[in-house]
Structures are given as C-alpha cells and as structure tokens.
Symmetry: C2
Subunit: 437 residues, 2 copies
C-alpha cells in the first residue's frame, strides 16, 4: 500500500484525554477515532490489526473444532426474561424499545441466544459434542468508559459456547478451549497467564481469566514467581491427554484479585508476585444454568432427557489491539509483534526528489507486492525525519530505508523496530530475505 | 468439512410464515434462524455464503481504490441533529437512550459519521480523491419486516463514501464505483441492471439502483427489451475512458418504479419490459449536502476553501444471499453460483456401511482438503435418498456421489447441480479435474 493512497491521520500532539499509553498511541498513530464516549471508529491502519487478530482467533477456534456462525447484535428481551438476566444484569445492559414498543437489548453476551438456537434443533446426544462461536460486536453500557478500546462500550468479541452430555465431556470441551486460548495468544506474541477467576454475571462453577501482565493493567493479579518456567506450548501439538496439559498450566498459583485471598493463598508470600494485568480472555463452565432455565434438553444413550451441559469462552478481539500495544511499545511508539502488525514491512524513501531513490523504492515495492507481502510504502513528499518518526510511531516490525548514499553501492538499510538494529543489505539480499519466508 | 461436525439443521417441512422462495429455502437448508422480527442468526452454512459475498465485495472495492475502515453500529444523535436527519428520518431510525440519558441511534447509514471523520483530518485537496468504506451491520426499523434477510431490520451493508474537490472529479469517483459494482455482481453470477433511481433519504442529484430481475422482486422496474445485448464486462479491464463505458451501460433505458414516468418514457412501449426486481445496490452523488451541513471544507489549489463533494455507494451484503437464491433455485432447492456457494463440492456416500465406499470417500475428502478445496462430506449414517435430497436442497454446484457399483470399476459419479447432468469418472480423473483448477 502506498501511504499517499492510505488514510493514516497521525497526530503530532499527544491527546490530552487519553490516560494510558496504548490509547494515546492508537490515537497518535491514526488507528482509531472516537465516535462517542467509549465508541470508536477503526481507521484503515487500526482496522488491519483488528482483522489480523480476528483471523488468528478464528483459525484457532476452527482448529479446536468450533464452528463459526453469526448471531445478531440486537436481541429480543424475552429470552433474557426467561433466563432471569433481564433484571439481574443492571445498567450495563443497553435496553432498547423498537417502534412497536417491543423490549429489545444490544447483546453484551449471547448465552440465551445460542441456547435458543441449540434447543430448536438438537434433541439427541448423538449431535454432541458441539461448540458454536461467533465474532460479533457487543455493547456494555459502562458507566465510565476509558482506556480507549480497552474498556469501550461497543466492542468486538469472540464468544464460543460448548454443549455436552455430561460434566466429564464438558470439562474436556473446556480443556480444549483452554489450550486453544494459549495457542491464540502465543501466535499474537503475548504471554497470557490463565488465572482462577470469578465468574461474574455469566455464572458457573469453574472459570479462568487469561491475563497479560502490564503495569497499567486494570486489575490486580497474583502469580507464583516461577510461573513462566517450563512452559512449552509446542507440547500442545502432541497433546495425548488434555487434562494433564491443563493441569500443568494450573499447577502453579495464579489468581485475579477477586479470587485471591491472602489468608488462604497456598504459596509463600516471598514466592508470590503481585502486579497488574489486562484480561484478554475469559472462559466459563456453568453446567446447566442456561439449559435448565430455557429448557434445552437432550436425550442420552439411556433414553433419558436431561439439560445439556454448557460452557462459554470469550476473547476480547478489539480490546486485544489495545492490550498488545500496552504490552509492546517504547518511547517512540508502537512495537508490533509480526503476526498482528498492520503491515509487515515499512518502506521509506528518505529523499523523495531523488530519481534513483524513487526507482529503487518502486522496485522493492513492486517485488514485495507481487508476492503479496504486506508492505506500506511511505511515498509522501515529506522530510526524512518526519517519515522516520511516523514509521517508528506506527511500529511496523521491519523498516526498509532507501537513501542516496546506500544505493550508490546498491544497498538499502533494514531496521528492526524492536531491537533498533540496522543492517546494510544489497537490494537482492533484502528481497530474498523476505520473499522466501 | 464433515457433515457430522457441521451444524446444518435442515427442515423437512416448508416453514409456513415464509412468503417467498429464498426465505423458505434459507430456513429449510438450515442457513438462518429467526431471532426476532426481521432479525436473523446466520447458521454455519449461511454464514459461509455471507462471508464469500462480503469478500467479493471487499476485493472489488479495494481494486477500485477504496480503503476499508470500520465505523461503529451505534452513533451519537448529535451529528444527525447537525445534518437535520435526526428528525427527518422517521420511525425507521432506531432511537436509543443510554444510561446517562444521551440520545443515540443504531446507524441505518453513515454519511454523517464518515463526514465527521473526514472533517477532523483532511483540510487540503492534496489528499483527494479519497474513498472510504466499511462493511458493518445496520438497522432500519421496518414497520413490517418480511422476505427473510431480503427485508430484515438488522442487515449487513457495505457503504463507501467518496470525497472530491469538485463536480467533475466526483463524477469520476461515481463512475469508478458504478463499474466496480458491475464487476462485483458479475463475480457472484448475477446480471444486475443499473437503473435510474430516486435518491430517497440519502438525497442528491444522481442516483442508480443495481437491480436483478426476479418475479418475486419487491418493486416494479422497467427496461429496454434489448438491454442485455452487447454488454461486455471484460471490456471494463481496459477502461481508458470511464465515462464512455458508463454511458454505454446507460445508453439503453432502465428505471425503477419511482423514476419511471410512462408519459415521459423515451422509448416505445413495445420495446419496454415491465417486470419486478430486487435492489442489490444503490449509489448516490449528493454533492455538498452533508459537507455543507457539517462544515467539511477543503482548500483547493487556488487557496480557497469549499465544501467537499461527496457520494455514497451501498451494497446489501446480507440481502444478496437472499437475492442470489431468489434468482437461482429450482423445485429441489438452491442452485448456488460457484463463487458464493458455501462449499464448492458436496461428497455423498450412498452406502455408509460399505467399507470400500467409506475408503473411497475418505480418500477423495482428504485429497480435496489437502489442496484447501471447499468440500462438504456427508458422512452421516442416513439413507441415500435423504442425503441426496439434502444435497440438492443446499445446492452446492458439484456433487460427488460414491456407491458400491461404481467403485467396483474405480469410478464415482459427478453431478452438476444446475444442469442435473452426471458423469461417471475414474477417481483419479475426478481429482485432477478439481485439484488443478
């Protein structure tokens, strides 16, 4: 993509009302624009990262055997009255009345709706296990939205729902999601700790939050000092026994504020780290809470009818964009992990009125485009300093810098955004490096 | 995908409350489920077609130089009060009050919001032309929602917005979208006629609806008998002069009911066809209507400030799923055009307890999967008749039918859903046919 054809309204000044770094950086890098309190438009640069994150989530859900569908944003209030949550949910539930005075709501989550789909069609255990998910916009009418997309009102979430015959099978489904979540975050370059968590308005007996550590995180978290030792995600691939693997991850202490009780904590205070974290996922097993309320029953192999066992599994897709930046930035700007960067490579012509420089840039740009390699070419007629600062701000993992001195000997500079290290490379070597991987 | 792992709740009985064939077929094929009046969940099969249609729309928008972003579903009412549409829009606008008693609305369209994004950042003609689009759920509170996803309340729409310095440039942007739309529909296997149309609540001087012909279409349309002659879309690729091409498409008469005046119609009655059609897209040039109201001004080359010229361009993505089925079905079920079919090939084992048949199916299935060819394998333990009827109902373009008689001589049956013709093919020939194209 040429920068002159790509709308990235970067800001020079730091926005005053943004309290945390990810929010400031997303505004400064022209990724988002506030539409109203806690509601954002995703400008083209931000949209690309959002889509890459969504796609990783989707691929790992599919790989774990979940099936994608799509439920609407607005729901009839009736089902929520059936489950009892219409009254319970409080003011975060955005209640709406349509032109015929029917009560509706903007879904903050979809347990009722998916249970209604399930109960309409599935009657026998033979269709189980089943896991249905969607990636859809949700709304929670936060009293004080803040931290940009990290605690917005309208947000994109992946929510999956598992259906099983009994507790044992339901735990197996839970474990599959548990491990799929670990893989999902790892692909995004994040270290997420699954922590014992409170189940809140979803309800249920078993619940884990996936938390990434960040000093600016919204909540206090606690974990065992050596938690990150001996964690080998590649072992997941050969998982013979899911339960063993999950147990391995849960063998060391980690809990959110709500679940952590200093008096009952099983580990010594000197081994406990108390810090802050950002929740990037939350999974629940809640058994028959919704299936009983809504009458979603299945016939088992013995011919008896019983409510189906359910769990639900959320990933905050739009929140992850902020969370990743919160975990990965420096004083110059964002430092994208490669898998979720809006573009993989940025190309900067530091002398845009030099004919040879333009030629080299065009050549590199078209080679990269031919192989569909994500590249953003800053072809603007701007000062070199402004372009380089912008590139650091938007934080693409690799920068190819083309200047008159280098190209005299057929070389360009390749800069790694994270380490800051640069290499002088012959143009052909540069192409080979990227185009063969 | 194995049918036993893929949730397709087909119905035997024809749903009573569905008035048109596409709605009946979508329900019977397990593509959608009604959530409440005019609001649908997209079950896995329907979701796949929806996503394929969305992707074609996206690719053609990108190819025409439009940039994708994403605006939220809920908007603050303020901007709509600025433009004057908050009062004008009537009861189809779903008005919402949040917990702080702020007036909001579920966007039925986004002219105000995109103008606000534009005016915040763009001040100079140098950034033009610019075309920004998004694919997002919209809501129109129809008084009597009907025809399934064709006239629902919550619907997925692509809407693009062009920004230009003056009328001449704006017409060029309009023409680019005009031609992109023709390509978009052609890729979906549809013949869409651009018709002179009324601009309704969007406003503006120039407007075309893209209409596909169907007897069950919601509105009356009129077009010249020989309209489809000499239309050569491949010529679009070499478009030297956009205006000439567009003029070619508009040289023969075609108009919607609102625009057609029998007394002023320029062509003879005997050359006029009067039929019904389904609107699948609508484009508008409305000049400075919104930029004036919202103060979106740009400085031209002469240094003078003036409101920017705008157009907007909508494609009904979710409605297209219904429209395509309305235009392409028979008495047995849906007949998908290949590009938008949920899967390209269906594989049916007509004797699921026959070990050899299972082996052949597994072999074909894994070969197709390896090359990422979309295939749905009906591996259920069901009667052959039920499976074949289901395949016809869901309407995948190709069916591979495996039975004991054929495989004795190493052959399977390949059926074309549209023509109904079948061929007996050696298994290797089948693979080559699909895997090399």
């Amino acid at each position: 993509m040429r920068r002159t054809n790509f709308f990235i309204p970067t800001l020079r000044d730091t926005p005053k009302d943004a309290q945390i770094e990810s929010h400031r950086l997303m505004l400064r890098a022209g990724m988002i624009q506030q539409a109203s309190a806690g509601i954002y438009s995703w400008l083209p640069l931000g949209f690309r990262s959002l889509k890459k994150i969504e796609q990783i989530v989707r691929e790992e859900q599919n790989a774990a055997g979940a099936q994608e569908l799509l439920m609407p944003t607005l729901q009839a209030a009736d089902l929520w009255k059936e489950s009892g949550r219409y009254e319970d949910y409080g003011k975060e539930l955005l209640r709406i009345t349509d032109r015929h005075d029917r009560d509706m709501l903007y879904g903050p989550t979809n347990e009722e709706q998916i249970t209604e789909i399930f109960r309409s069609h599935v009657k026998s255990y033979k269709a189980l296990p089943m896991n249905l998910y969607h990636i859809q916009w949700k709304f929670r009418d936060e009293v004080r939205p803040r931290f940009g997309v990290m605690r917005g009102r309208e947000f994109l979430m992946k929510d999956a729902y598992s259906f099983d015959l009994n507790y044992r099978d339901a735990v197996h489904s839970y474990n599959k999601m548990f491990l799929a979540y670990l893989k999902t975050y790892e692909r995004m370059g994040l270290k997420a700790i699954p922590m014992m968590a409170d189940s809140g308005p979803i309800g249920g007996d078993m619940s884990h939050e996936f938390v990434i550590l960040a000093e600016t995180g919204e909540s206090a978290v606690f974990y065992q000092r050596d938690w990150f030792e001996d964690k080998n995600l590649s072992a997941l691939e050969e998982a013979a026994n899911l339960q063993n693997l999950v147990d391995g991850y849960l063998s060391k202490y980690a809990a959110t504020d709500e679940k952590h009780d200093p008096l009952k904590c099983p580990i010594d205070e000197k081994d406990l780290i108390s810090t802050r974290g950002i929740e990037v996922g939350h999974i629940f097993y809640f058994g028959t809470k919704y299936s009983e309320a809504l009458g979603a029953k299945i016939t088992g192999p013995d011919g008896d009818e019983a409510p189906v066992h359910m769990g639900s599994y959320g990933v905050g897709v739009s929140r992850l964009v902020g969370a990743i930046i919160e975990a990965s930035h420096d004083e110059k700007g964002i430092v994208w992990p490669e898998a979720v960067s809006p573009f993989r490579v940025g190309l900067v012509n530091i002398k845009s009125d030099d004919k040879k420089c333009v030629e080299v840039c065009e050549d590199v740009y078209s080679s990269f485009n031919e192989t569909k390699l994500d590249i953003l070419y800053d072809d603007r007629d701007e000062r070199a300093g402004a372009k380089l600062n912008d590139m650091d701000l938007i934080g693409l993992p690799w920068q190819v810098i083309v200047g008159p001195r280098g190209i005299k000997s057929g070389r360009v500079e390749l800069k790694n955004r994270r380490s800051g290290t640069t290499e002088d490379l012959p143009i052909e070597t540069l192409k080979q490096r990227f185009l063969t991987t």
